[in-house]
């Protein structure tokens, strides 16, 4: 017995679970936009990767590196892990270029998600910008799968140009449904675009929703999220009912490595989804 008696053996699940990548094979590859691809991955051992909407994994391309990527698939079909990946760096470039059959490493899932079921019996407003729609897709699919549990469901989506609209076919299908209201706006008009031109924040101002009974989920570039959050607060949504998904340098996924900290928050475990009242003051300080 030693002074360190409180230390039993580490639970094997902890040791094996958090840091070891599992092999997944790319089974589907869909080019969403010029620089964005959705990969469908299946675990080699067939074990589904169950996740909460809003969670992320660490995806690794052998010999290149590892990156945090939000899960964009259907939580009801965890046997197919979907990641929507934009080509912005060395690892995402390699991932975006990977063909079906490629084996990649996956750790996770990590992080606190949208907890969209908190809106049960109430209305839901989802505001997405650019690739920010990807982490929101699982939440929307979950809501649509349990549609009767919610009141109005509104999706406001902003993209840079019409060609950058993510999941365009699915958005068109949703727009045709009567139980979800979809509004899309683009920053810049390009030939053929008949829809709205303007910032997504303008959609917030115009959207008719009852601020008192609406949970709002926001994902996009940080500045867009802050502007949308401010617009939502302006409309009377209480800050705790505005949820954002923060992007920081997630490395380990479990709060040990320190990289993703924003003052007292470990974004990988306290987030990535955080309510606006917790992050408002932090995001307004440059370089915090």
């Amino acid at each position: 017995m030693t002074a360190t008696d409180a230390f039993g053996p580490a639970p094997a699940t902890v040791e094996a679970g958090w840091l070891l990548p599992r092999p997944f094979r790319v089974v589907t590859r869909r080019q969403d936009t010029a620089d964005t691809v959705t990969l469908g991955l299946r675990a080699l051992d067939g074990a589904p990767l169950r996740f909460a909407p809003g969670a992320f994994t660490m995806v690794e391309m052998f010999g290149v590196g590892e990156v945090p990527i939000s899960i964009s698939g259907d939580p009801a079909s965890p046997e197919l892990l979907e990641h929507t990946i934009r080509d912005v760096g060395a690892v995402t470039h390699a991932l975006v270029g990977s063909e079906p059959g490629t084996v990649v490493g996956v750790r996770g899932p990590y992080g606190r998600g949208w907890q969209v079921r908190d809106a049960t019996g109430q209305d839901l407003l989802v505001v997405a910008g650019g690739i920010g729609l990807a982490p929101l897709r699982p939440a929307l699919l979950d809501v649509l799968a349990h549609r009767g549990d919610y009141g109005r469901v509104i999706l406001l989506y902003g993209a840079r140009r019409a060609e950058d609209i993510l999941f365009a076919d699915e958005l068109a299908r949703w727009a045709a449904r009567r139980d979800i209201e979809v509004q899309i706006s683009v920053d810049y008009r390009t030939p053929g675009w008949q829809g709205r031109v303007g910032l997504v924040t303008a959609l917030v101002a115009q959207a008719g929703f009852d601020a008192e009974r609406t949970l709002t989920l926001v994902c996009g570039p940080e500045i867009m999220m802050r502007l949308v959050a401010a617009a939502l607060l302006e409309r009377g949504v209480p800050a705790p009912r505005v949820r954002l998904s923060l992007e920081r340098n997630m490395h380990c996924g479990v709060g040990l490595c320190g990289h993703c900290q924003v003052r007292e928050l470990f974004v990988c475990v306290d987030g990535p989804v955080l309510s606006y009242d917790r992050v408002d003051a932090l995001l307004s300080v440059p370089e915090l």
Partner: protein
């Protein structure tokens, strides 16, 4: 079995060391290398820096010969227990390509034989550092398996600090100079008269080990001599850090000009985070063999002073040095409190000593506090019409 305090002479201390080794412990203790006291494996008392002390102040560390034969007559060594329990480079896992995918195994493949470390001569500030590392690495939902493995069977022989340095400020944080908890055995070296060591028992394991060593009961004179050692050391610590309300001060000080001022000195060299006994940030580095068949993932110390640390899409959240210094200090004295219910500092002073620019953490924190107080007073003077009881 001994429950109270005992006394060891030099031969007894040598016997204690041998006893640890005979039980399979790798004993890590203070020894001299490259002009400094470092932590390394020791096998006999001669490995200790007998008769050597140190002079530490902002940006400077020098060994100095002592006029006595003290074994523990120096202040914080370069290496804290972090170097042993949470090494700068360790293997997380190794992966081998297979026909269909890969196999991956934890660690360096040597999981069956975990190290059994005994830390010898640990200072009180560093005991607190171990306690804090336990919270960070072994006390939350996800445990660091490598730390856990090294920590699990740790045996700690602490030593009272008798000759603190100009960088020390443990007394401001209540973490020293005398060990009060977190050890198996604690020594206080008594010079003058017979060279002897008062031994306090901190655990059943300590008691059990001591039973195998030729110790004799301590006399009241020995006890008061040991008290005097600790008291004198405490009196020699002149550096102060006011941690009262520091969290709130720092939370309100994100825009303080002090950060910009420090940034004109700070080299962002990461010495402070490397020597800090509680800094825990890490990164991973993969190495792949030439055939591409085996990949090894190393966990290596990282630092919030690097630009890559906060990089998102190739851009740093904290691009400027001022923001990075602010991050380090604010994490340590504000965010730590939220995250781990304690400030992340133990007052060892290593970051002050080993800063090549001699940046004095305690002075800079006092500067931030003073600047905040001035700013608050000015704001109040500018808005005198408000409710005098409303401090916002």
């Amino acid at each position: 079995m001994s429950d109270g305090t005992s006394l060891l002479d030099l031969a007894g201390l040598q016997s204690l060391l041998e006893c640890l080794r005979s039980r399979g412990y790798t004993v890590i203790g203070p020894t001299m290398r490259d002009g400094a006291v470092v932590a390394a494996e020791i096998t006999r008392l001669e490995d200790l820096p007998r008769g050597w002390g140190d002079t530490q102040r902002p940006g400077s560390y020098r060994l100095r010969p002592r006029e006595d034969a003290a074994l523990f007559g120096f202040a914080a060594p370069v290496h804290s227990p972090k170097a042993t329990l949470f090494p700068a480079d360790t293997t997380l896992w190794r992966r081998t390509r297979t026909e269909d995918g890969f196999d991956v195994e934890l660690g360096d493949g040597d999981q069956d034989a975990p190290p059994r470390y005994a830390l010898f001569g640990v200072r009180s500030c560093d005991l607190r550092a171990i306690e804090l590392q336990d919270r960070v690495l072994d006390g939350r939902a996800v445990v660091d398996p490598d730390y856990h493995r090294r920590r699990r069977d740790l045996f700690v022989v602490a030593a009272t600090c008798s000759d603190p340095s100009g960088s020390c400020f443990c007394t401001s944080l209540g973490t020293g100079p005398r060990p009060t908890r977190g050890f198996d055995l604690a020594l206080t070296e008594i010079l003058g008269g017979e060279h002897r060591f008062l031994v306090e028992v901190g655990s059943p394991a300590g008691s059990e080990l001591l039973a195998g060593v030729p110790a004799r009961p301590a006399s009241p004179a020995d006890l008061s001599a040991a008290d005097r050692v600790a008291r004198t050391a405490a009196e020699h610590i002149l550096r102060r850090l006011d941690v009262d309300g520091l969290r709130e001060v720092l939370q309100s000080a994100a825009g303080s000009p002090v950060w910009d001022e420090v940034a004109t000195q700070c080299l962002a060299c990461m010495n402070c985070t490397a020597v800090c006994p509680t800094c825990f940030c890490t990164s991973v580095a993969d190495s792949t063999d030439l055939t591409g068949g085996t990949t090894t993932r190393h966990r290596v110390w990282d630092s919030c002073f690097s630009t890559e640390y906060s990089a998102v899409h190739g851009r740093s959240v904290r691009a400027g040095v001022a923001a990075r210094y602010r991050q380090w200090v604010t994490h340590r004295f504000a965010a730590w409190v939220d995250q781990f219910q304690s400030v992340g500092c133990v007052g060892c002073g290593r970051c002050i000593t080993w800063c090549p620019a001699g940046i004095d953490l305690t002075r800079r924190l006092a500067d931030v506090r003073a600047e905040r107080e001035t700013a608050t007073a000015r704001a109040r003077a500018l808005a005198p019409t408000g409710d005098p009881h409303d401090r916002h």
